[in-house]
Amino acid sequence: MRILEIGGGPFVSSYAPAISDFYCTFHGCDPAVALTRRRILALRKRLRAGEYDLVVYHITAKATAPWHRGYVSLGALGGTVAASLLKFQKIAWHYFHWVLRDCATPLIVIDTQDAPRLTVSESYWLDRSQFWFMRELPPNHMNLFLGMTRRCGDVVNIQRNPLLRRNFAKIEPFSLGYFAEEMRDLKRVEPAGKIHDVFYAGKSHTSSVRERGLEELRALKAAGVRVYIPETRLSRADFYQACGQSWLVWSPEGQGWDCYRHYEALMSYSVPVMNYPTIEKLAPLLDGEHCFYYRPEAGGLTEVVQRALKDKSALARIAEQGRAHALQHHARSQLTRHVLAKAGMLAQAEPHLTEG
């Protein structure tokens, strides 16, 4: 079997390198994997010849066709199209999708972008796809299409749209996951090695949940809780070390709810504390079993941190359970297996899969 992956970065092809080809749609990527005109034409031939059994799109940023009339004016449209023709990467994806319409190879989309909405272009891809794995999936899936066009102002109108209605069942939750290869060498941290109660490192200007939570953390610090908030950016190794040395890692939502930090905390033998999930999740972390959830309104974080720190033996148990859960479901290699299983190709692909 052979898999063709196209996107902002490799996902499936990282874990199945022997049976997959990856082409990048980002401007400025490695020329060896750039999706050029010449490569699209070659891929068209190969697709028509049935050389690929599965096509995977990995979306990491909003995909809107430059000719979409959502662009503000005709002048801007002209400018965008002209720029796109000069920088082919900008339209390669849409051009390739036009090629894909000529063949019956199954398409699977993995959408790991921050925004919980789809664009019009993406809705046509949804129609062509077999499954759409969405990281930031609202519990009511219809909200994915809010404001997509002027006829999608509310869910009542969205559910009347025949194009969208027939595709609701294809949408599945997905996890951002973590890169197992980065976490492989982390050493187990025993309770005696925990020198911080709560650790947080991250940008806070993109999320009001983070801004408000930081105030609560500072108040907790003033009240005697050992809170570690480094002033400068940590290296990756230092970040994992600080996670491991802390009982709790505060992991509030940023631009999306799901975050690498949720799983990195667990893999570092710590327990993540997250605000209530606003999305539907794949293999969710359970409150009190793998993590802690708090209400984002005032006082929620303080209550949960104080309650959690009262029972350190329970924290050690939760960290173990959470790590096992993350290993089983949220490693990117496992997510790749999940995607291939849904496509009905896991048995064929399994001998070729690696752990990254």
């Binding site: 662009y71 609202p138 002027r150 939750p173 939502e253 606003t278």
Partner: protein, 345 residues
Amino acid sequence: MPQKPLLLADEWLLGVVQDIDLPVALVSMQEHLVPRHTLPPVVEVLDRKQALAGLQEGRFSRLLMSPRRGPFWDKQRPFVSRVWEMRKKIGDESLLRQYAIPKAALACGVPMTVVDFSDTFHIAEWDHPLLQAAETYWFREMPIHPYHLLLNTSRRFRRYSNISKNPLMREMHKVQPISLGLSDARQKFVKAAAKRHDIFFSGADTGPARVQARQILQRLKAGGEFQIYLPETTLSQEDFYQACAESHVVVSPSGWGWDCYRHYEAGLCASVPVMNYPTIRRYRPFIDGEHGFYYDLEGDGLERCLRKILSDKTRLVEMGQRARAHVLEYHLFSKLLRLVLKETA
């Protein structure tokens, strides 16, 4: 003559105004909606011309308005279609009220407040000027992340990077959460009753969370482990309140929006609401384990939650009382109106 607030109300706000106990002037966004409601004598119903004259004369202390129903000049339509649509819009009394009154209030220096009790969780493009003009913008389905209020609402707001740079983001501090609340008049349906059911759920299947909850409860009911009251038909209001009062917990999953009258109806009847995790920022929320419970929508989240909480019914009775006190203190329409009108009792 003492000044009073002027309300420019859609159907949601008109429902809330029924419980007002302060003198206010009211203009309905749609004329035909007023006769459907029994308005108290303190409400003076005006038409557009009277409201505009009152604004000129300085009779109103504040304009409290609902979000507008639609655009006058729809930027998302092709130009020819816009011009064609104008044919119907010129002389549309409803649209004139929605656009002329806030414009006059702004010109006369009357402070403005917007309150959105509807299901939607974004601010439509035609209401962006209201966000700039208003002192406070109360929002029921307020997303946790402020970008979501604007995402996809206009051509400029398709990407986070564009939203973050827009001057409208500087107005976001004005957006405050408010609850859907409950009419004060509903208290007449509440009667003390012995707890006969463990779990009660009744509601239309609007939204996947409700469909899923009904399926789980049907399965649990067939298992016979809990006393579950799951009526097949729609109950009358009296019967609904009685069933709430007779149940230890009321399952209250989200519908089109997360907030729901049922959350507060359960609390008012001294029962414990069991809700899926909130996807919005809330006003005076039910606290997990104190006034209500929250569950994961995925898998057997509801079942796990119910099994855990129904093992201690004494605690549930105490929590029910706390939930009732919480609703009476914060979530009745009269309390919410005082909050948005900045009046203290």
